[in-house]
């Protein structure tokens, strides 16, 4: 089975390196095809491994040593167990679709080859992240996806906003990575190893404060990658990248890495329920917070990005409350329908010549039937309507929150579900139905190439059916992850599901009702809340005003005032003093022997005085 493991892991790397050879050449179609095929091979291998793990259990290989110093031993080791194989399958599946889709999407881009090189490199990093058997290996993938994300967000580097967003994403992630590194250090110095197995085996011997600290540090890392508040601003800005990138990285895979980390460290977090509850609370907050921002945004991709943020919040609620398999389940289903949503949005953008303002669209259904249907399916799934994928996973999370007695969290998520349904359908309505605004702006939309649509079909299918495998999924993953018992009586459960469905359907219905009639009146946009939400709670402004500008000013100050005017000036003034002393005392050398003799006598007097008063210690 090892060969499948290595195939799954290294096929993307081979793809990336091979395509990189042609990176600076003009478009070559075969690069995209070969990259897609190699990723597909990786996907097939992942499925083979899924079956294998199901029958034979986890697979663990140690490829080679990496860092060996002192007591520290870090190998390149890979483990394929119930959790990682689910991630592998999800990642490679979405990646394959995105690769194929990109052949169509990037058709006219002059950096076609470069794009596929980066995209495959991302898949490789993600595979390392999920397959590694130790924390540092995970960190390699963690940073690797960060790098690829930087490259891909800034793919159109000639755009100022793109390169700015890329840097923002990288730096925000770095802040969180520091927290994660601290967590790793703490683990190492308490356990003496960074292998998952050994760490989890020795955790129970540790002081609970230490475990809690580790948990917090690791979660800080997860917050960066998964764009949790207050490090969330980069995700919306990351939409500057090409849309397939948003689908793959900023919806389906990379941003869920934080959730994956918490699931992976489930044994750790289950020891510290308080920290877990804090994570869940933050998750619930973000779920609501992001959903509220999605309500008013007019940028097609940003709406979906906020939706992603909100769904990540749901995942963290589940993971924080100890329902790890449910978090993983939602992660998977979300990957399917959210990437579908993004890719559909990509089609729309293509049709609209990269126009993103949904107010300028409307009535696209006429010209883009397939895309409209796929996106609607994805939106329904996202809203959590039975029997689509989102219903099963999201509803479970609400149940968990209720089960834990965290009614407040439950309520937040409940409201969030309504908002989700509303903004999803606001988007669908504004884009595909209603008045044909695009005609005013002179667009001529057209449907994407057929193979692009066919590539999306698997995702569409999965968005519908993925939820039906809930019980198999639970059985499979709980072999490794902690089981989660729900103690709610059947009656209440039905009521809860009913309530959730109602609010979701209500949200949808409200959106359809409102936007059929041309949406909200202009007066809404004058309101305080509207402004607050559309400015993202002014958080980016706050960051700009109170972090970036002061930092720049402080840097200038430190350089010009402290380094130049104090430190360097001190050094120079020492030199200048010596120089000036020389200049002044130069006059002593009048050249007159009498004067010199006089100075000699002065020197002698000084020495005599010293001889008289200074007695060295005998």
């Amino acid at each position: 089975m090892e060969k499948y493991l290595y195939t799954a892991l290294f096929a993307p790397l081979v793809s990336s390196l091979f395509v990189a050879l042609f990176a600076s050449r003009p478009k070559m179609l075969f690069t995209g095809v070969i990259a897609s095929i190699l990723i597909a091979i990786s996907m097939v291998s992942s499925f083979v491994l899924l079956i294998d793990v199901n029958t034979h259990g986890a697979l663990h290989v140690n490829m080679m040593d990496w860092i060996v110093a002192g007591n520290l031993y870090i190998p390149f080791g890979f483990v394929v167990d119930e959790v990682s194989v689910i991630m592998m399958v999800t990642v490679t599946l979405v990646s394959t679709v995105v690769h194929i889709y990109s052949i169509g999407y990037m058709d006219h881009d002059k950096s076609f080859n470069r794009f596929f090189s980066y995209l495959s490199a991302f898949v490789f990093s993600m595979m390392i992240l999920v397959m590694s058997d130790n924390f540092v290996g995970l960190f390699i993938g963690w940073e690797g996806v960060g790098l690829c994300s930087w490259l891909l967000i800034g793919f159109w580097y000639h755009k100022h906003s793109a390169s700015w967003a890329a840097n923002e994403a990288f730096i925000m992630n770095r802040i969180a990575d520091l927290g994660m590194l601290m967590g790793l250090f703490l683990i190492y110095w308490n356990v003496g190893s960074l292998q998952y197995e050994e760490v989890f085996a020795t955790l129970k011997d540790l002081d609970s404060v230490v475990v809690a600290t580790i948990g917090i540090f690791l979660f800080i890392g997860a917050m960066g990658k998964s764009a949790q508040f207050p490090l969330h601003t980069w995700l919306a800005d990351a939409m500057e990248g090409p849309t397939p990138v948003s689908a793959l990285i900023h919806a389906a895979t990379m941003v869920t890495a934080g959730v994956y980390l918490v699931i992976r460290c489930g044994e750790l977090y289950s020891m510290i329920p308080d920290v877990g509850f804090a994570i869940a609370s933050l998750g619930a907050f973000v779920a609501l917070f992001a959903a509220s921002m999605a309500l008013v945004n007019n940028d097609l991709k940003r709406i979906i990005a906020y939706s992603t943020l909100s769904q990540l919040g749901y995942m963290f609620v589940a993971a924080g409350l100890g329902a790890y398999w449910i978090a993983l389940f939602h992660l998977m289903t979300h990957a399917f329908f959210k990437s579908l949503l993004f890719l559909g949005a990509g089609n729309v953008m293509h049709a609209m010549h990269d126009e993103l303002n949904i107010k300028k669209m409307g009535g696209l259904y006429g010209s883009m039937k397939a895309t409209a249907i796929l996106m609607s399916v994805a939106s329904v799934a996202l809203a959590g309507i039975y029997p689509l994928a989102g219903f099963f996973s999201k509803d479970k999370i609400l149940e968990v929150a209720f089960n834990e007695g965290a009614y407040f969290l439950w309520f937040a998520l409940f409201i969030g579900a309504g908002l989700t349904a509303f903004y999803s359908f606001r988007l669908v309505m504004l884009v595909f139905f209603g008045e044909k605004e695009y005609i005013k702006h002179g667009f001529h939309p057209h449907e994407a190439q057929p193979f692009v649509i066919y590539a999306l079909l698997p995702l569409g299918l999965l968005a519908v059916i993925a939820g039906w495998f809930e019980h198999q999924f639970e059985g499979f993953t709980t072999r490794l992850l902690a089981r989660y018992e729900i103690h709610i009586s059947h009656g209440i459960e039905i009521v809860l599901i009913g309530a959730t469905l109602c609010i979701a359907v209500g949200g949808i219905a409200f959106a359809i009702y409102k936007y059929q009639r041309g949406g909200f009146s202009k007066t809404w946009e004058e309101g305080f809340f509207y402004k607050l939400l559309s400015n993202q709670y002014y958080i980016p402004k706050v960051y700009e005003l109170y972090i970036m500008r002061p930092f720049t000013m402080l840097s200038q100050f430190v350089w010009q005032k402290i380094d130049m005017k104090v430190v360097d000036f001190t050094v120079d003034s020492i030199a200048r003093t010596i120089y000036k002393t020389g200049e002044k005392s130069r006059k002593m050398q009048s050249g007159n022997l009498s004067d010199m003799l006089r100075w000699m006598v002065v020197g002698m007097v000084v020495l005599l005085v010293l001889a008289l008063f200074y007695r060295p210690m005998a």
């Binding site: 990176a23 990496w66 060996v68 520290l72 930087w150 802040i175 590194l181 601290m182 230490v210 050094v571």
Partner: protein
Amino acid sequence: MEHILSLLVFFPAVAGLLGFLVAKESIRAYGISVSVIEFCLSLILWIGFDSANAGYQFVEYYAFIPSYGMSYYLGVDGISLFLVILSTFITMIALIGLSIEKDIKNLIISVLFLEMTMVGVFLILDVIWFYAFWELSLVPMLYIIGGWGGERRMYAAIKFFLYTFAGSVLMLVGILYMGFLYYEATGIWSFALPDWYLLQVPFKAQLWLFGAFFLGFAIKVPMFPFHTWLPYAHGQAPTIGSVILAAVLLKMGSYGFVRFSLPLFPDATVYFLIPVAIICIIMVIYAAMIAYAQEDMKQVIAYSSISHMGIVILGTFAMNAEGITGSIFLMLSHGIVSGALFMLVGVIYDRRHTKMIRDFGGLAQVMPNFATVYGIMLMASVGLPLTVGFVGEFLSLVGFYRISWILTLLAGTGIILGAVYMLVLYKKSFFGQVVHEENRSLKDLNAKELSALIPLVLLVAILGIYPKPLLSTIDMSVQKMLVLMDQKAIEPATKELIMKANSIGGTH
């Protein structure tokens, strides 16, 4: 193999002398071939090196002035081996990538002499000779900066020379006092480092000696607040000078800490641990902030060097195998990465005759290969895993975490700030539209530059993925040194700290 160390040290100097006889047209080829031979010699040294032996190897010993204990004493161990290879490698790369035409003969001869002093510093075990090589290394560098530098080259060269010289003079006093202490304790004079290792220095004397050595090393590193010579030196030096200065000369200071301060004065090291660590953290953050504010591309990298050296020193003072091994590895990786970055700045300077960031923009469109290489080096500088930069930085920080978590956290902000200034630099100069017309016609890397840069890129990747052969060799010698420190320690607190720093468990 018996005299390979002497050969390594003096071959470049002899070749440099002979270089006066070589015709001007062929001097470049001559210089490159000498440096290649020297590099091969250092590789032979590595091949012949017994990596299971933690002690000194290939030792050569001749009594030089026996009545005063001076000897010609060469030896190599895991700590110095790779620094020697780094020196020869960087010299070779720098000569390959050399683009100066003016008075090239003297320049190449200066570089070869510089190579002798660098290799000498790392190989010599007699402290008087060490001092001699240490000081001699200033002279060729003074010529290189003063002769081929920018507009304010004289100011920069003299500042560089006097500043570092002032520091090392105090070190000389320390050396003499240490020799005297040895004489007092044993009745014979000796300036051989292995002899000194056996001497237990009284605590008070350790403090003074540590201070004297510290000043010499700290100025060379350069540590805050003794760093101001570095930006001038880098700003004015020609590319080859900056490359060697950043890649090797700064490492002499940090090597000095590992070779002298730690094993000779373990108690003083522990006593001054926290103050030094705080200086390191100031260096990391302060230099990173200044780097962010710079307008000159070369200055950004110069200040980033200071920032990285802060982590190197921090790792050295971690007092455990992880930290010290990591810091030595970080010296190597910083040598490779900063050398490469300075070469890259040199590449663009040769084309545009400016280093100001505002004169660039959109370079990625006109020079894709250049942008790629620059990007790789930038990522290595930022410390991305699987590049060479990560291993050393990770180990250094891991090591120091055992001493203090809060200081490690503060030092860790260096990796954030590092990303900030590097990415901003990259964005400003490579991304965006081409604003200046002159930049449209820039040529991408030529064959000569590629042949200098590709080995560096390969090294960045290879050592990032498989650092183990280096790490295990370094680790062996470092562990031996730690045992020595533990045995020599006088104060119980020192023993306790070394014990704690090297054991697992109980960290908060």
